[in-house]
Amino acid sequence: MIRGGKSYVSSPPAFSNDAKRLLVCTGNTVSVFSTSTGLQMGSLEGHVALVTSVIVVPAPSPAGRILCYCWTASLDGTIRYWDFSTPELMKTVDVRLPIFSMVIPSLLSQQNESSEKASDVFAYISVENIRAQETQPKALRGQVRKCNLTKSSLAGGVTLKETKKPEYITISSSGEFFGILDKQKLHIWKVPEIESERVVLKRIDLHHTKKFTVFAFHPTQRIVAAGDVTGRILIWRGFGKRTFSMGDGQANGRSINFDEDKPGVRGNDDADNCSTWHWHPHEVNCLVFSSDGAYIYSGGREGVLVVWQIDTGKKKFLPRIGSPLLYFVDSPDPSLASISCADNQIHLLKMPAMEMLKSISGIKLPFSPPEAVSSLCSGCIFDQKAGVVALHTENYGIQFYSLFDDHAISEVQVCERNHQPGNEITVVVTQLALSVDGSFMSTVEVRLPEEDIGGLVCLKFWTSDSQDKHFRLLTVIYEPHRDSDISAVAFRPTQLMAVTSSFGGDFKTWVCGNEIQKGEVQNTGWTCYAVGSYKKRPMTAATFSADGSVLAVAAETVITLWDPDRNILVAIIGDAFTPIKTLSFLGQSGYIVSASRGSRPQLSVWSLSKLSKLWSYSLQIEAVTCLGDPSTFAVLALLPKLATESQGMALGGRDGAILAFDVNKPDPMAVWSVRKAEGGALAFLQGSPSRENFTQGKTSRGLLAFVNGDHEYVLFDPYSDEATEHGVAHRKGLVSEETEKYGYSSVYGELQEFNHERNQTAEIIIAPSEKPWATLFSGSSQTLPPLTKLCSAFLESLLEKRTAVVE
């Protein structure tokens, strides 16, 4: 089982004390990277949910720099203590509440009081109150709480602040102050000199008219800087002089109103003055003071790192980073810093020249295309032989990512234009197809019209050499289907032929012309070979059979089968309820699987020899793939919303399932439930990782790859028992849910099968259900089939049930 494709930028990374390693939160693990080579050195494995904070224990003296201890906090409700030089778990603190952020002030101020070893270590954590979930939606779910790490317990009853959702805690580098943002307010607490469980913390609030996004403390002075959604940076100087210096309690300090001049400070906020800088056109995402306190680093959505000189406000820039900045982290080594970008890259910067030394780059994260074309966009595409996935990137490109090695291979820029992270997206790569040998690629890009002018669909064919995997452009076809959008692109497995289907009611096949020049074959370009249409209906999906002899094109609800060479319509099969979205042949066997979405989603298996439907399910299908065995296939299904809600906790946040089927049986062979299935993809990889080759003798039949909506992936052998960890447990539950929700179909099978002309009574599915009668007559009468049909089916279902009992 291989996992990978984690996001490196879910939380800020942390440098080790000698700045030679970088600890990055990657999903459930923390990965340790070398800053000199950019390679992964190890990982801390133990958390069972997303790790949200990693804090390296600072070295008290230069000699202690080789100490490699860190604290991590995770959504699984635990705080763990590690030695990351030899990845080893030292301690676990169970808080039982999902931790979104954690700070440990005493670590930072430990230098002067290291002699007193007896004092407990306290952490301030931002948690989500799960108990507040069931109550009204306005409940305050975010809490800032205190935790005694030495005694492994939450400080009883101490809740510093409640917010709508858990907020990120920021701490000053001296460990004296920490604070959170709450919309337009800034709450700052002062850490008490002597920590104990029930000490009262003093708090000040700072106000602004816009929503804050990020803030930072000055390392030595009482200066706090905060960025807001409009791109302004506000700097308060001398905050909290009144409240924090007074010996008395909070309430007392509040009431006294000093009548002095406080320029820029709002209301009765406790600060000397406030100044504003405005350069960022979009919201500020990261804001950090340099370690000497002379500069502020800021960055935002426009992908430019700005360095401000605090005294003068002068700016220096590092432009063209190419992606929104998320975090800036300073290292103990003054010449090294890191920035995390939204495209899942961490750049190591040489300071103060701001020169990129190394980049740690992961799989490209999904992005949301504009509404207008989101329905057209296909998911990722696999090169099944090489174990490579091709993904759309936000900057109009395609990333090739090796699943076996968890490693990016190359990127292809589909559209020759610069991507400005802040700008609105005007071009979207909607479709992508790879030929079986991986040497040809086809892309479809849509230029969005501006005020209904200038929209353009463009089909491109690319080719690559076997030596270097770089694709070069071969043919550009502007508006291949007039004005209409393309719904699918597919390559023919055996020949140089491709098909595009469009919503404009036709499909076109394309061939590549070869020319022999100087003895070697050169591909000269792709041209249209044939055009076909069926009753002018929109064509919604297209695919070739594995041997290339049949072309299947879905004309909304029916599947049309064509001879691709002679362009003759061979046959038409069946009727789905809603337009078919996905078509796929099952290997060499004469079966085709169709999936449609919409109000009445459906997964159907059709037999090409009988030209009829074998069986079908009412399932929302995201992806279909054929397994190594020609008669088996796997689908990625989204669980119905209703079911996930009712079962909520039992499924543990899993919203989808991978179901493996045999064509001849509608009962799934295996079920694996998965998280974040929406936007996911599924493929059966024929190859195996190169290192597996060493252990010869054990020949694997291939691996099933599942890429979820966040582009995290897992590879597992669908035939082994290893992967069926969740599957077995949920198997029954899943199926019965299905039947409970779709009461009719559970009893009568698919209603549509009755409308079908052919006799397939033997193949009607009767999914067993506990109480089919409860939902039997709860539908509106016009959707019920006529009584004559209903009766026979009803009796039949009874018979089926009886036999099931006998078995």
């Binding site: 030679k20 000199s36 190890g42 270097d468 550009v476 003895g519 000269t524 290192r691």
Partner: protein
């Protein structure tokens, strides 16, 4: 510099083939990412950066370090680290052994003066629990790869050790100078001794089952296979010969398991950068097997003499997908920019890889221009607008060429309907034949004589498929500056051809040949061009000959037509006789024309050929004419 030589190169693939380390003797080690094809890290000055060793700092930079051997060791999964276990173990000429941690880019450990006189060989078992080094002092040192502690030392030879190897299970060790000795790892006892190599063994490995040892010595053009069984036999059980001495060996042996994979697979890389791959089901079969050779073909003759020409740098047997074939992962190209490729080699089938000129500094001159032109061809992008589907007719019978699809009406293919209509017309009113011919004349501008063959073709008597060549219509673009129909003087033809490039002329020659073969143009017009091209561009045509066999087909056509001269002459004689008789009888004026004809034929024999080939029709036509005349 002559042929490439990779003898002095140190190369190592990481066990999972993800990375490739190369050191070319300047003390720098470059790590390439084989997936991306980019450089990942460069190790320079490792020794100088080592703060613990005070006196090493006195040395001046990396050039003072001279590495003699390099191996890539994966400490493996026992520590559950993905990359952390990757070490590069290096031996230096000064006798030090170094281990570099690839992931962190740091020196992991070093043993100074392990082998006085220089480290010559490093080896370890597949599990990677122990590293063995051999040195010029004849000692073998056992090292713990995790800590870098030297565990054991023992002497195996009085001479310098040139190569060592450990079997994959780590139980047996082979050490070689000229003589190969097998030791047990646990108690350092000598098990077996093989002699036969005259010089120092350069590379030696055990097969993965430990039953055979393969070795090759410097300057020897064969690999010796020794059977490791503890017996007293001292001779090699088989030898595999090559054209050059080998520098690297790899092998895979499947003894049990799947029946179809069973056998012994051997890979060798010679110092000239040629890969050899042998397969044998057993040792006897291996002995007689013919190796598959993989080499890099270098197109450019200039490059061949150029220093540091692209070659195969390293190779590794990655897997056995099916019987008698192997996946070889290799790095080839230039030292500055190696390319990585996984290729499938079948036993007994030679392969040629194409070299890429990426990263090379070309000598200026013609080759640069040629390379540039090649680049232009590669970067050609076709663009189609929204009228892309205009030519896409449902079943298009001859849909082969891009140029044609754009201009479908350029096909001179004769519409069957038209032909039928023509025939009907010609039958109904014979007089209209003349007008038909007039139309043909219009089509072929400037043709002075009406070729009978064309006439026949237009009436559908001559089939369309008698030409062996692709009967694509002449591409107008090709002839745009050459007016074939115009009866040019020889000098003008020569000038026109001289002005053409060699490849253009060659293409023209091809087109002309197909024209001649298909008789779509008059031989009288085509042949001068062909002969001129052959005279002027003979070199280029000859160089292309092996690929296209154009000359061969040209010769064949000429021969076929030439063979018909004799009967034609006879026919002419007979006709003359008849004509003379008619002449005598009628005192007509036809004699003049016949004499003219005869003169023509003797002038240009190829002209005759056209008539001869279809002489049946010709004759009948003539005779019918004659009878008409009579």
């Amino acid at each position: 510099m002559g042929s490439p030589n990779i003898r002095d190169l140190l190369t190592a693939f990481s066990p999972s083939s993800e990375f490739f380390a190369i050191s070319s003797g300047d003390g720098r080690i470059k790590i390439w990412d084989t997936l991306k094809g980019q450089i990942q890290t460069e190790f320079v000055d490792i020794a100088a950066n080592d703060l613990t060793d005070a006196f090493m700092k006195l040395d001046k930079g990396h050039l003072s370090v001279d590495y003699t051997c390099m191996k890539w060791l994966d400490l493996g999964k026992k520590r559950k680290r993905k990359h952390g276990g990757s070490l590069i173990v290096l031996g230096t000429g000064g006798g030090d052994v170094l281990a570099l941690d690839v992931a962190s880019g740091e020196l992991r450990w070093r043993i100074s003066d392990c082998h006085p006189g220089g480290v010559t060989a490093i080896s370890f078992s597949e599990k990677g629990s122990r590293v063995y080094t051999g040195g010029a002092d004849g000692m073998i040192c056992e090292i713990d790869p995790v800590t870098g502690n030297s565990l054991k030392r023992f002497k195996t030879s009085t001479k310098a050790i040139s190569s060592i190897s450990v079997s994959s299970d780590g139980s047996v060790l082979a050490s070689a100078s000229a003589q190969v000795k097998i030791y047990s790892c646990s108690d350092q006892k000598k098990i077996q001794k093989f002699s036969g190599h005259p010089g120092a063994v350069r590379s030696m490995i055990f097969t993965n089952d430990g039953k055979y040892a393969l070795s090759c010595a410097a300057g020897e053009r064969y690999i010796a296979v020794w059977r490791v069984d503890g017996s007293k036999t001292h001779s090699a059980s088989c030898t595999l010969s090559m054209e050059h001495p080998a520098v690297y060996l790899d092998s895979r042996c499947f003894d049990n398991g799947e029946e179809d994979l069973k056998g012994l697979y051997v890979l060798a890389l010679t110092e000239t950068g040629v890969c050899y791959f042998w397969f044998g089901q057993n040792i006897e079969e291996l002995r007689n097997s013919i190796p598959a050779k993989v080499s890099l073909s270098i197109e450019d003759s200039v490059l061949k003499n150029h220093h540091g020409a692209p070659t195969i740098l390293a190779a590794k047997l990655q897997g056995i997908p099916s019987r008698a074939s192997g996946h070889i992962f290799m790095s080839h190209g230039l030292l500055v920019k190696p390319l990585f490729q996984k290729i499938l080699v079948h036993s007994g089938k030679n392969m040629n890889l194409n070299s890429s000129l990426d990263g090379i500094l070309l000598p200026t001159g013609q080759s640069l221009v040629r390379a540039k032109r090649g680049q232009d061809v590669r970067n050609k992008v076709t663009a189609l607008d929204r009228a892309n589907a205009e030519d896409a007719l449902h079943p298009v019978p001859t849909f082969t060429d891009l140029g044609e699809t754009k201009k479908p009406h350029q096909y001179s293919g004769i519409d069957p309907d038209d032909v039928i209509a023509d025939i009907v017309n010609s039958r109904s009113q014979a007089k209209s034949l003349g007008s038909e011919q007039m139309r043909d004349d219009d089509a072929e501008v400037g043709t002075s004589t009406i070729c009978l063959e064309d006439q026949l073709r237009s009436l559908g008597f001559i089939g369309q498929n008698d030409g062996s060549f692709d009967r694509s219509a002449p591409d107008p673009a090709f002839f745009k500056d050459i007016n074939l129909e115009a009866n040019l003087s020889n000098k003008k033809i020569r000038d026109a051809i001289l002005s053409m490039g060699a490849s253009d002329a060659y293409n023209l020659l091809r087109k002309l040949l197909s024209l001649w073969q298909s008789r779509s143009s008059n031989a009288k017009l085509v042949l001068p061009w062909i002969s001129r091209i052959l005279v002027i561009h003979s070199d280029y045509v000859l160089s292309q000959e092996p690929m296209t066999e154009l000359l061969y087909s040209l010769g064949k056509t000429a021969k076929a037509r030439g063979a018909a001269i004799q009967p034609l002459l006879q026919l002419v004689g007979r006709l003359q006789l008849v004509a003379a008789q008619i002449d005598k009888a009628t005192h007509d004026q036809t004699r003049d024309s016949l004499h003219e004809r005869q003169a023509d034929e003797s002038d240009d024999e190829d002209e005759d050929i056209d008539h001869v080939f279809y002489r049946d029709e010709d004759e009948s036509g003539q005779t019918s004419n004659d009878t008409d005349d009579e």
